[in-house]
């Protein structure tokens, strides 16, 4: 890190610290009621208490993360497999794509009532909705990646008399990889959101349920601690995925 970069980071960190100071002042001076806005110390204390050994926040955080990751992995596998099946055949693509485009803007959470009616208030139900909601970004991105294969590569595959499976494996998937990874990143965000909403509605243990209960009991510091932890999950998962994206797509940039 050169000095210019370091000073940029320091300045930027100072701005963040200034915001926290503003928060401190606002809650201590009573500009905003402490019912809504706890002091930074109280939030930190709640975080500390929940994350210390035996604290319940750490278990909730793990439960939410596990739910998100399971749904996301299921969605990614299904999305790539289905997307490859649909994308490789122009006829299937033309037949199914209008339906897929119609379903895409449907909020994933709108499926929660249907899933509750079908499966009851169970962890499996939440997982189903998480996976279903996270499926669309990957599926549509894979279909798009397959549709955008360079025509000359298709001709090469014909000349080499590649089978359909070999075409998918050797040309289709590598070509669609940037699209797939972008879709997987979006679907990670969707997974976290749907997991939290699912926990809120179906009362499954996790951060979603924890923050809802904290708000209902007017325990603002615990609510803020939960929101902060959800932010941490979002930040870390996104950072890991962009790292993976850079590593996996290294071969594409000469």
């Amino acid at each position: 890190m050169n000095p210019a970069q370091r000073s940029a980071w320091l300045g930027s960190g100072a701005v963040f610290a200034a915001f926290v100071a503003l928060w401190w002042a606002a809650s201590h001076a009573g500009w905003i009621s402490r019912v809504f806005l706890p002091t930074p110390e109280a939030t930190l204390a709640s975080l500390h208490e929940g994350l210390a050994s035996g604290g319940e926040l750490i278990a909730f955080m793990l439960a939410t993360t596990a739910r998100m990751l399971q749904g996301w992995l299921l969605a990614s596998l299904m999305g790539v497999a289905l997307g490859a099946l649909i994308g490789v055949s122009p006829t299937v693509r033309a037949t199914l794509q209008p339906t897929l485009e119609f379903v895409r803007p449907l909020p994933a959470s709108a499926l929660l009532p249907l899933a509750i009616a079908m499966f009851g208030l169970s962890p499996g139900m939440v997982l189903f909705v998480v996976a279903f909601g996270a499926l669309w970004p990957v599926l549509l991105a894979t279909v798009h990646g397959f549709a955008a294969v360079e025509p000359r590569l298709v001709e090469v595959a014909h000349c080499l008399q590649l089978s359909r499976a070999a075409f998918v494996w050797k040309i289709g998937l590598p070509n669609a990889l940037p699209d797939i990874l972008a879709g997987m990143r979006l679907s990670m965000t969707v997974s976290l959101i749907v997991a939290v909403v699912g926990e809120m509605i179906a009362s499954q243990p996790g951060l979603g349920q924890a923050i809802l209960l904290a708000a209902r009991a007017f325990r603002a510091s615990e609510l803020f601690a939960g929101i902060a932890l959800l932010g941490v999950i979002g930040f870390v998962s996104n950072a890991l995925l962009s790292l993976a994206e850079r590593k996996l797509l290294n071969w594409q940039s000469p």
């Binding site: 009532p113 509750i116 549709a147 298709v154 509605i201 809802l212 932010g231």
Partner: protein, 279 residues
């Protein structure tokens, strides 16, 4: 739509002129027109058959025909319009607030490199917070109703608008900014007279994304907490064991989402054409 049907990018069919045998040009045109429909129709028919035979009298599923009847009921008693209007209004209001703030701050951060550098940590710390995490907070602060819903929508739409506006400003032609310097424009004049018109096509691309996000978040808030709007109507139909009405709402939410997104796409393309940009 994402699909650009590049006919050459198909596999399994040789590109060597394969002419559809038997069917004439009219037949082929009719087939192309019908093609998007048969898959959803077959799916609905199967579902109808399943719910009429194996899952007859179920408390959780209902045949699509019953859902259609329930939809007609909601249409005639006016609950359809009330709930739809509530959801669309709070989504629009939240989007208006989130977009205004996002675009204003985005222009500021796009124009000033120093401001952008200084805001990095704050933006990166707040942006990954999932919007639904704010539902309990909004509930605590505003109680139920319009305000809690549009505040969550505003938070959710703020970040994409901010980042896309910032990126759009970064791509404004440097010569335009030099012109504004030569003319001695103040920062405000520069933003309003030079930068804002230059980024309009890209702004509408961002707005299209914002529209999609706002509707999804609005329905999610209603399903999770707020006892108003389409999401709640669907939730209450499920809880009162009225699967036909629940499916009617699900279908209607899908139709509204599709229509709103399609309208946003048309608006964006129209603006892009009017501004002479290739979007």
């Amino acid at each position: 739509m994402l699909d650009d049907h590049t006919p050459s990018a198909e596999y399994g069919k040789r590109p060597s002129g394969r002419v559809g045998p038997g069917l004439g040009r009219h037949g082929a045109a009719a087939r192309a027109l019908l093609r998007p429909w048969w898959f959803p129709s077959a799916l609905l028919a199967l579902f109808e058959l399943y719910t009429r035979t194996l899952a007859k009298g179920s408390d959780s599923l209902a045949p699509p025909s019953a859902a259609l009847r329930a939809f007609a009921g909601a249409f005639t008693d006016g609950s359809l319009f009330q709930a739809t209007a509530f959801t669309l209004a709070s989504a629009a209001l939240g989007l208006a607030i989130g977009a205004t703030l996002g675009v204003t701050l985005g222009i500021a951060l796009g124009l000033s490199k120093r401001a952008a550098r200084l805001s990095v940590v704050t933006v990166e710390m707040l942006r990954p917070v999932p919007s639904v995490a704010l539902i309990p907070l909004a509930m605590l602060v505003f109680g139920f109703g319009l305000r809690m819903e549009f505040s969550v929508v505003a938070f959710a739409t703020f970040w994409p608008m901010l980042l896309l506006t910032q990126a759009a400003v970064a791509q404004v032609d440097a010569r335009l900014l030099e012109v504004s310097q030569v003319l001695g424009l103040s920062p405000l004049q520069r933003s309003l007279k030079i930068v804002l018109p230059a980024i309009v096509p890209r702004l509408f691309i961002a707005l299209r994304l914002g529209v999609a996000v706002s509707l999804v978040v609005a329905v999610t808030v209603e399903i999770a907490a707020n006892p108003n709007g389409m999401g709640y109507a669907m939730m209450i139909a499920q809880q009162s064991l009225d699967p036909a009405l629940m499916l009617a709402w699900l279908g209607w939410i899908g139709v509204v989402g599709f229509a709103v997104n399609a309208a946003a796409l048309r608006l964006q393309r129209w603006v892009a054409r009017r501004m002479g940009a290739v979007a």
